[in-house]
């Protein structure tokens, strides 16, 4: 039996696999539609005048870079859900004598096919949303038909999403041990705390030196933006090291203070894997960072708007704000979807336990509330923590922006809060009282 045949036999929709499969396809639909919209926006900037183009295109590329992490987390969540939903079948394959390579090939093929179906649906969603997105103004006028990518570029984007699913599936499967008896999560040794501290402090020193002296460098705008993007990548590395540590600290504090079942369970869920908890909300950290730095930047650019010069620079403040809001919105949508998907995977994984606890008389509302808290506590910690850290980083500018352009700063903060609310609402999909079949949660 070849890989494709095995993938089809295991992957065809059944009543039990329908929910995870729909969630996975839905996730890739959203990923593809968002990638296409951002690319469409970037594409529309290529039609601007020369000087404006050289400023707007790198900024759009920057927005894409910012979206890669939440998109990767989303893709990885979808791939893991897909593999988890098939765990018994994958274990059975091993029991029947399939090699580890064959089982992984089946899982990756399934992920790729699921992603392809989702990506094609994403193209349809992009086409459906494009007329609305075309109304977003840049340079004082709606983007218009500029949002429509050439067919070849759209096809490449679809391929990129499928490739992303394969990479995510391989990365996700690396953490799963598929044996003939079960699928288990592999424990990965954490980065030692001293190394974490060295890399974090080193990154901060480099970043600080870079950004305080960047104006003195004799380079043109393109190189400057490349330096900023590189600096940002270093910042992300530092974030990834500080994040789990911060989440673990908050988890321990919550555990010490927990006085009821819900708080105790939530704290233990966070501490079960601070790295996984951080990964789920890392997009929120980025959104907080974008909100503060981007919001401040938009306000600064907006200072000059009162004196119209009749050039493309008149629209900079408004356009940077639009770009910040779009990036922020898309990043938070990614976090909301990936959080919902990974929590669905968690709930489905625990189907037997949760239905059994229901029989014991444990109200599933308690488990649900703990599950929601286990994500929202790190999300709020990270949102507030990284917003404060970002404000400190650009303190003089941020206070000036707040004084001069309170509406701009306010708008960005409202979008950030709305995004956090959206994440909270998205978690309802993984409520065991809704997600688990009525028979299994009989109480």
């Amino acid at each position: 039996m070849n890989i494709l045949h095995m993938a089809w036999l295991l992957g065809r929709p059944t009543s039990a696999s329908r929910t995870p499969q729909l969630l996975t396809v839905g996730a890739y639909t959203m990923v593809s539609a968002m990638v296409l919209i951002v690319l469409g926006g970037a594409w529309s900037f290529t039609k601007l005048d020369g000087e404006a183009q050289s400023f707007y295109v790198p900024l759009a590329a920057f927005a894409l870079v910012l979206l890669i992490v939440p998109l990767l987390v989303l893709g990885s969540s979808a791939a893991k859900l897909s593999a988890r939903a098939q765990d018994r079948a994958l274990s059975s394959l091993r029991l029947l004598g399939a090699t580890g390579f064959q089982v992984r090939a089946v899982a990756v093929t399934q992920a790729a096919v699921t992603a392809l179906v989702g990506a094609l649906a994403g193209v349809l969603l992009y086409l459906a949303l494009a007329p609305a997105v075309a109304l977003v103004p840049f340079q004082g006028q709606p983007i218009g038909t500029g949002i429509f990518l050439p067919a070849g570029a759209a096809a490449l984007a679809v391929l990129a999403v499928v490739l992303l699913s394969v990479i995510s599936a391989l990365a996700g499967l690396r953490k799963l041990v598929i044996t003939p008896l079960a699928v288990a999560t592999r424990r990965v040794a954490p980065v030692p705390s001293w190394l974490r501290a060295v890399i974090t402090v080193g990154s901060i020193v480099v970043l600080y030196s870079l950004f305080t002296n960047v104006g003195l460098l004799p380079v043109d705008l393109g190189v400057l933006i490349a330096i900023i993007i590189g600096g940002f990548a270093l910042g992300l590395l530092a974030l990834n090291l500080i994040g789990p540590w911060l989440v673990a600290k908050v988890g321990k504090s919550k555990l010490n203070k927990a006085n009821n079942a819900e708080q105790l369970l939530a704290a233990r869920m966070i501490l079960e894997s601070p790295v996984a908890a951080w990964r789920q909300v890392s997009g929120v950290a980025m959104a907080s960072f974008v909100a503060v730095i981007g919001g401040t930047g938009a306000a600064m650019f907006g200072f000059g708007e009162a004196q119209a010069t009749g050039t493309w620079e008149d629209y900079l403040g408004t356009d940077v704000l639009t770009g910040v809001l779009v990036t922020l919105g898309l990043a938070l949508i990614c976090v909301a979807i990936s959080a919902a998907i990974s929590q669905c995977a968690g709930t489905l994984d625990r189907e037997e336990l949760y239905s059994g606890l229901g029989k014991l008389g444990m109200d599933l509302a308690v488990i649900n509330a703990a599950r929601v808290k286990s994500l929202m506590i790190p999300a709020l910690t990270v949102a507030i923590g990284f917003a404060v850290a970002s404000v400190v980083l650009v303190l003089p500018f941020a206070s000036l922006a707040l004084l001069m352009k309170p509406l701009t700063v306010g708008t960005v903060l409202v979008v950030l809060v709305a995004g956090l609310l959206m994440i909270r609402v998205s978690l309802n999909i993984a409520d065991p009282r809704r997600l688990l079949p009525a028979g299994s949660r009989r109480d």
Partner: protein
């Protein structure tokens, strides 16, 4: 020989219980009365309705017809089948304890937290709940293992944590579904000893589904089911438990 008539002041009594799944009759007119302080085994082949009967008596599942009456000491009779979902959940939480084959322990929590959870769900503050949980675990021979996570315990130790959780609330009845089914014979015997000591040994009622005749032989009474009907109801002689 049917023993129902010999149970005076039954703790739980069921009359005319029926439950069907499609064309299968899992329960087909069950009448049974269970007394306080007794261990009752429910036996029968797969699909005979053992677990469905346990679920119906415990208010986990509602029968299609028939009644289940609970007479808790110091309280008036409760018609279990007439309670709404939330009230049945509360009843299970407060009045019953459960030990299932798979343990159903929460892997993120430590042994003491798993036991304390049963009390905290009922509103007992964490400090008091943990103290009672530690006491219960120590009585079951798990001293020194209170802080261990479930994954760090053996199968027998995990089942003893589940037993501690089932009795820490002071429940009058413990329902057990194949509590030793996943254990080797030596560990199974130890777990069964513990279960009997914590329940009937403390004047409580144990209702246990089992496939194992040797396990059933340690109970006071054995109900045998076939196709949803009780086909035998045997009282075992005094002293059999030892």
């Amino acid at each position: 020989m049917l023993q129902n008539s010999k149970v005076s002041n039954p703790l739980i009594s069921a009359r005319g219980l029926t439950r069907s799944y499609g064309t299968t009759h899992a329960l087909d007119g069950i009448d049974v009365a269970l007394g306080l302080g007794t261990a009752v085994a429910i036996m029968g082949p797969s699909g005979s309705g053992k677990s469905t009967l346990l679920h119906a008596l415990a208010g986990i599942e509602l029968p299609d017809s028939g009644t289940v009456t609970l007479n808790l000491p110091g309280q008036g009779p409760i018609q279990v089948e007439q309670l709404k979902d939330a009230a049945r959940t509360k009843l299970r939480r407060e009045a019953f304890g459960f030990v299932f084959q798979s343990g159903l322990l929460i892997p993120e929590l430590t042994a003491e937290e798993n036991v304390a959870m049963a009390l905290m769900i009922n509103g007992v503050p964490r400090g008091a709940a943990i103290a009672r949980a530690v006491d219960a675990l120590q009585q079951l021979g798990l001293a020194g293992m209170e802080q261990r996570r479930i994954g760090q315990l053996s199968g027998g130790q995990s089942q003893r944590v589940a037993i501690a959780r089932a009795q820490v609330t002071g429940a009058s009845v413990v329902f057990a579904d194949e509590p030793t089914g996943a254990l080797d014979s030596v560990t199974g015997t130890e777990v069964l000893d513990t279960l009997l000591r914590c329940t009937v040994g403390a004047g409580k009622t144990l209702v246990m589904v089992t496939h194992d005749r040797q396990v059933a032989a340690r109970c006071d009474r054995v109900l045998t089911l076939h196709d949803g009907k009780i086909t035998a109801d045997d009282a075992l002689v005094e002293g059999h438990r030892s």
